[in-house]
């Protein structure tokens, strides 16, 4: 498994711009390394702007102390090694599932799988009038998920984004072509609140860290 961080790409939040990887593996909403100390402290005082997160931030405003709010993420801070971060994020998802109504006599899954029970996530597709919900644990691979999503949304797709089109989107080598044609791109919000491109990490890791899915219009998927 490659380092999670190496494959981590951050898409722009709706309406905002995203950042490319600047140095091998490291991404940030802003990169304090490029500018001096003063700009960094200023950036820490700025809040992330996002339609999804605005309500969260307003809530924080009421309770915040007079100090820089920590919502802005800085590269390599807090100084927790990637290995540990990965292990914990996979685990957290598992233990959350276990707390959802599983008692001790239920099956917890075998061989360190960790998660028991379902992993329902909302799936939205740009342009579709309503959302769907899928249980990620019903699928064994990205291909299975792709097929299922293709079937679900085929009635809403415009142009050449049918279930075959969606299957193609899960295929990395076709992704760039399709992005250029501003077709749809599958993305997901992970445990840390970041929007990621579907398909980069091993399937099991994806299932454990995915909170919701969004099939975006390719035009909006900047920063890849």
């Amino acid at each position: 498994m490659t380092l999670f961080d190496e494959t981590e790409l951050r898409l722009g939040l709706p309406g905002g711009g995203g950042n490319k990887n600047v140095e091998g593996g490291a991404t940030a909403v802003h990169n304090p390394g490029k500018r001096g100390y003063d700009e960094t402290i200023m950036d820490l005082k700025l809040k992330l702007s996002s339609s999804d997160q605005e309500t969260k931030i307003d809530h924080e405003k009421k309770h915040a102390s007079a100090n820089p709010p920590a919502k802005a993420q800085v590269v390599g801070w807090p100084p927790v090694r990637s290995y540990r971060k990965n292990m914990l994020s996979v685990q957290k998802k598992s233990s959350l599932h276990n707390e959802e109504g599983n008692d001790s006599s239920a099956s917890f899954g075998t061989k360190g799988n960790g998660g028991g029970g379902a992993a329902f996530v909302k799936v939205s597709m740009d342009g579709a009038p309503y959302l769907r919900k899928v249980d990620l644990r019903l699928y064994q691979s990205y291909q299975d998920l792709s097929d299922a999503l293709g079937n679900m949304f085929s009635s809403f797709t415009i142009g050449n984004c049918g279930s075959q089109g969606l299957k193609d989107f899960m295929n990395e080598s076709k992704l760039m072509d399709l992005l250029n044609n501003s077709d749809y791109v599958p993305t997901y919000e992970d445990k840390d609140g970041d929007w990621m491109l579907v398909g980069d990490v091993p399937w099991e890791m994806f299932v454990n860290s995915c909170k919701r899915l969004r099939i975006m219009k390719g035009k909006e998927a900047v920063g890849l």
């Binding site: 490659t2 140095e23 820089p68 001790s104 360190g112």
Partner: protein, 574 residues
């Protein structure tokens, strides 16, 4: 003068001196010995079996080979420590291969290689496995560049392997088949640690390996090994001293718990326990029989709450080292303070480093309770979201023997949350009270005052880590002007500029290295340093689209090997 009285030197043949010196093992002592006289220098170099290279670029493989002809064991550290936090680009360097190719010629009897933050390719591992007939110990920590194929080569070719320790590496995991490559004839394994590898190994192969290696004393498996499987392994290896379990949760089957508990109680030599992924209150009690003689318990992958921890710790009276997740909360730390009077080391890691909403974690209250109950505490790594000066002052008073104090207040630049003042006085108390302090990591809102204290009082400080702190060049100048034993200084996101950098002109050659990133240092400042101090390598790591006059990442280190010849295009040696 009596002609029978000879000069001391000729009474003492070199062979005898070498024999005596062969008993001296620490590299610091050996360094001192080599400075005594020419003959002692020679005796030392011939008798040295282990060489420690703290910075792979401070010396070249040829120089090492020329000086030490009889080396059996090598330890090498590569990248700057901040590479752990993604501050160093890939392809920066620290490739082990150039070392291996020299060693293959000069040290054909090499037995041990321990690497940290080095780049190790599969080719290097294969080369290692096939070039050194008697090779026995391989330890790779925080390395990257290899895959499980490289491990296959090691398992296949190293006929006398006693140690394979793979920790927290950026490894490409292509499957668990490597473990099956250990031949049936291999019975020498004493240490096997594959806890950080993700894919499943063949349990059958593992079980057979464990049963035939009667001297196995350290076994750390990965998460894929189930409790049932663990039980079988323990039955084969009751002699284990250090155990890393796999997942600590499984489908409940009638009756296994008592057997598992018995398996643990049969391990009379167990002193270290780790792993414990997914541990829940249901299964944790199986380890209780082994707890009384545990000295090191690593719970940093078990999301325990305070009650579970308290129940567990009640059995762990002998603990000296404890690693936890902050899910245990302050109440959990209270239990630490009451149950573990012999505790010397505590590390508390954040379960959710980025998400404040989920989990408050631990605060100053927890830290104080530990300090009260554990007066022998000398090593702390503590991640928290709030801290006060008075708490740190109290902690220093309770535990004056700190040698390692690493406090990470997770929000950059956060003051004492009650008084809103900078954390100067807290850290000041640490350096004033804890005279044995060797390593310090500071955080929170800090003015130059903190560094004035550090420079003035921290007489034994060797390693200092600073982030988002200081008010002006003075901060760094205070440290460089004091701290006589400083060896490693790593700084990020601080307002220190050229004057600060250059104030250390006289000091850097007595240090291993300096790292400065996202500070106010310019290329010109770095050039001046490089010009004045030719024995230093002054390297600037360039960002793609950065301002050319700023030096965003600077790495300065002493070296006898001259400028790097393998530097990638984005590393400029000035």
């Amino acid at each position: 003068m009596d002609p029978n009285i000879k000069r001391v030197n000729s009474l003492f043949p070199d062979e005898v001196l070498e024999r005596v010196l062969s008993l001296i093992t620490t590299h610091k002592d050996r360094s001192s010995i080599s400075l005594v006289s020419r003959s002692w220098y020679n005796a030392e170099r011939w008798s040295r079996r282990h060489v420690f290279i703290g910075n792979c670029y401070s010396v070249s493989p040829q120089i090492v080979a020329n000086r030490f002809p009889n080396i059996r064991s090598v330890t090498i550290k590569g990248k700057p420590r901040f590479s752990d936090f993604n501050l160093v680009p890939d392809d920066w360097g620290a490739d082990v291969f150039p070392w291996l190719s020299v060693f293959a010629t000069v040290y054909p009897f090499l037995e041990e290689l321990r690497l940290k933050r080095m780049v190790v390719s599969d080719e290097s591992l294969e080369f290692l496995a096939t070039s050194f007939v008697g090779f026995r110990n391989l330890s790779l920590m925080s390395c990257d560049g290899f895959s499980t194929d490289g491990l296959k080569a090691v398992a296949t070719h190293c006929k006398n392997l006693t140690e394979l320790d793979i920790q927290e590496n950026g490894i490409e995991d292509l499957g668990g088949h490597w473990l099956s490559c250990f031949p049936e004839s291999l019975t020498s394994l004493e240490i096997l640690n594959f806890a950080s590898l993700n894919s499943e190994v063949s349990f059958d192969a593992l079980e057979k390996l464990v049963s035939r290696c009667k001297s196995l004393r350290v076994l750390k498996v990965n998460r894929n090994i189930s409790l049932d499987q663990l039980q079988k392994l323990l039955l084969h290896a009751p002699q284990l001293m250090e155990l890393g379990t796999g997942t600590f949760m499984q489908e409940l089957v009638s009756g296994p718990l008592t057997e598992l508990k018995n398996a643990f109680s049969n391990c009379k030599n167990l002193v270290t326990l780790s792993g414990l992924w997914d541990a829940t209150p249901l299964y944790l009690p199986v380890i209780y029989p082994a707890c009384a003689h545990l000295t090191f318990l690593n719970l940093s992958y078990a999301t325990l709450r305070s009650a579970e921890l308290a129940n567990l710790l009640a059995h762990c009276k002998s603990l000296r080292r404890l690693w936890l997740l902050d899910t245990v909360g302050d109440k959990g730390l209270e239990a630490v303070g009451s149950c573990c009077p012999l505790l010397e080391e505590l590390r508390v890691f954040p379960a959710d480093p980025f998400d404040q909403e989920m989990n408050l974690g631990v605060t100053e209250v927890g830290f104080i309770s530990v300090s009260r109950g554990c007066p022998k505490l000398h090593y702390v790594l503590y991640f928290c979201r709030q801290m006060t000066n008075s708490a740190v002052v109290t902690i220093a008073k309770n535990c004056p023997d700190f040698t390692h104090f690493r406090l990470c207040i997770m929000t950059p630049g956060q003051p004492d949350y009650m008084t809103k003042e900078p954390m100067d006085e807290g850290f000041g108390a640490i350096v004033k009270t804890c005279t044995k302090l060797q390593r310090l990591a500071v955080s929170g809102l800090l003015t130059d005052g903190t560094f004035e204290y550090i420079g003035k009082y921290a007489k034994n400080l060797e390693t200092l880590s600073v982030a988002f702190a200081g008010s002006s060049d003075l901060g760094m100048e205070y440290v460089l002007g004091g701290c006589p034993k400083l060896r490693k200084l790593e700084i990020r996101d601080c307002p220190f500029g050229n004057a600060a950098l250059l104030s250390g002109l006289m000091k850097y050659e007595s240090m291993r290295s300096l790292w400065m990133s996202a500070c106010n240092v310019t290329m010109n400042g770095c050039r001046v340093l490089a010009k004045e101090r030719p024995m230093l390598n002054v390297e600037v790591i360039k960002d793609e689209d950065s301002d050319d006059s700023q030096a965003h990442k600077v790495y300065v280190y002493r070296t006898v090997a001259g400028p790097r010849r393998d530097a990638p295009p984005f590393v400029l040696t000035l």
